[in-house]
């Protein structure tokens, strides 16, 4: 690594300016705003200390949206990682890999809005293809999106459809980096396929699995489009997530300070969930 010179400073300047103006400043602004009550209609701004946070923690819909988000994150991420990993291991050897890799890419490329619209069409109670196909095997029509017990699960399915491919591709790349001769020498010593999987493949995949778990967790916390299109947060509050909650309070009720307070809480929760990932990445070579 060389000592910096004028060129380095010029090269860094635009990025630093973008960060300062468009991420550092807005974050500070958000932290400060969360202690204020802003009323656009009256044009009032008043410092209210922790009142926004107190109000937030007393609002049952906030807790419902937090609970929905956490259920969504845990179920969707676990399903994506389990399915994606299993499929990657299964297709890493033998035929069909190239075909599957090409086909599986498609869902993760689509705009989330498009994904949500497609599934809205397929989930439709009356005209949807899913209920029609279920009718073939004698299953009565299901209220995929309008039953409060099922709606969250239905949205989870669309998320799993879209993002399992991501896990698949990352795990596959990690599998292909494992040298073949490890398996050869293991089989010389009489290891069978399931032993190879348990004692070689899975331990070597561990870092990649942890990484996709965390990347998916971070991204799934922000899920919004799918709820917006598929259920609008309903029925009732059954699919209200925390991003939806912030959006609603910030841009429909114009409770700016209150919504900002909720978004600060969201940041803290995500940091809590990803501290492990941060620690791990901070140790890697990019930083040293």
């Amino acid at each position: 690594m060389r000592k910096s010179n004028t060129m380095t400073h010029i090269f860094l300047l635009p990025a630093v300016v973008v960060f300062l103006v468009l991420t550092v400043y807005p974050l500070l602004y958000a932290v400060v705003t969360s202690f204020y009550e802003l009323d656009f209609l009256k044009g009032d701004i008043s410092f209210i200390g922790l009142d926004n946070f107190n109000k937030l923690f007393e609002h049952d819909v906030f807790w419902i949206s937090l609970r929905n988000t956490i259920i969504f994150v845990i179920v969707a991420v676990l399903m994506e990682v389990l399915l994606g990993t299993a499929l990657a291991i299964y297709f890493n050897s033998g035929k069909g890999l190239k075909l599957i890799r090409t086909a599986i890419l498609l869902p993760m490329l689509l705009p989330p809005i498009t994904v949500a619209l497609t599934w809205k069409m397929m989930y439709d109670y009356e005209f949807g293809i899913i209920n029609y196909l279920l009718g073939w095997i004698g299953v009565a029509p299901i209220e995929w999106l309008s039953s409060s017990n099922l709606a969250l699960l239905s949205i989870i399915i669309t998320d799993v459809w879209q993002w399992t491919p991501f896990v698949f591709l990352i795990i596959l790349a990690s599998l292909q980096a494992i040298p073949e001769d490890i398996y050869e020498s293991a089989s010389v010593f009489g290891a069978n396929a399931s032993q190879c999987l348990r004692y070689i493949t899975l331990p070597l995949l561990k870092p990649a699995i942890i990484l996709v778990l965390l990347l998916r967790t971070i991204d799934t916390f922000q899920v919004f489009e799918k709820m917006y299109v598929l259920t609008g947060g309903g029925p009732g509050n059954a699919t209200e997530t925390i991003t939806f909650y912030i959006y609603r309070h910030g841009f429909r009720y114009f409770e700016t300070g209150y919504a900002t307070a909720a978004s600060i809480v969201l940041v803290l929760i995500i940091i809590l969930f990803s501290i492990f990932y941060l620690k791990r990445v901070l140790k890697t070579s990019n930083l040293s």
Binding site: R2, L12, A15, L22, Y25, T114, F127, F224, N286
Partner: protein
Amino acid sequence: MKKSIQSKSKMKHVIRYIVVSILLIWSLFPVYWMLNNSFKNRIEQFSDTPTFYPNQVTLENYMTLFLELGFHKALLNSLLIATVATTIAVFIGALAAYSLSRYRFIGRKGLLVWILLTRIFPPVTFVIPLYEMMGNAGLLNTRIALILAYIAFNLPFAIWLLIGFFNEVPFELEESAMIDGASPFQTFRKVVLPLIIPGIGATAIFTFITAWNEFLYAMIFIQSPELSTVPVALSGLITEYLVLWGPMSAGGILSAIPIVLLVYLMQDTFIKGLTLGAVKG
């Protein structure tokens, strides 16, 4: 003995075919279903027995979409916004990433930590402050607001990805150029930059996809229909009383085409960027 091994491997073969088929149907059917519906007329769309291919291929949904709903404006807006944001983010990102990859300076570590942190901050945290800032600057309801927001969100990931690509360029190449009398800038431009063109391509694809697909900011920052992007225009086809399924399917297909083309033309670059971005950041 031999026979049982043979039948066992035959069994494995059959299972493989079944798994491949299920997976293909699972991944492709929803997209096919949208494509199929986009070519159906209104009667077929809502028939009691859905048809698996249009009995009567019609372009009426596409016509409605363009002639009545002005969808071409949304396509152009998205294309413009995503292209400008990508170009700027990748340009700024490449300069910064090169310095971060090669040079030592005060605040380097702090900058890298901030880049990582912005990766985990949810966009919704910044939406209220940025909304106020854009309002104060008179930029609300302009394409510039979205371009700025997309640069801000894509820059950290672009830098992170590009650092990985720059790190792969051997140091000795630059040293020998410098011994031959090249200035630091000439070394960067003539020696290093040509070598990371694939990396820049991969980064640009990712940035473009994120900007093209983004919904939350596009919905909040833009109010006029003439300025809205593809995802917002699509979501507008659902109203409380009526869902325009046919035009919506047509729009869904159109929303996917640029990205699908881009990625399938550069599939290996895309996958390399995906794994590098995930593994190193």
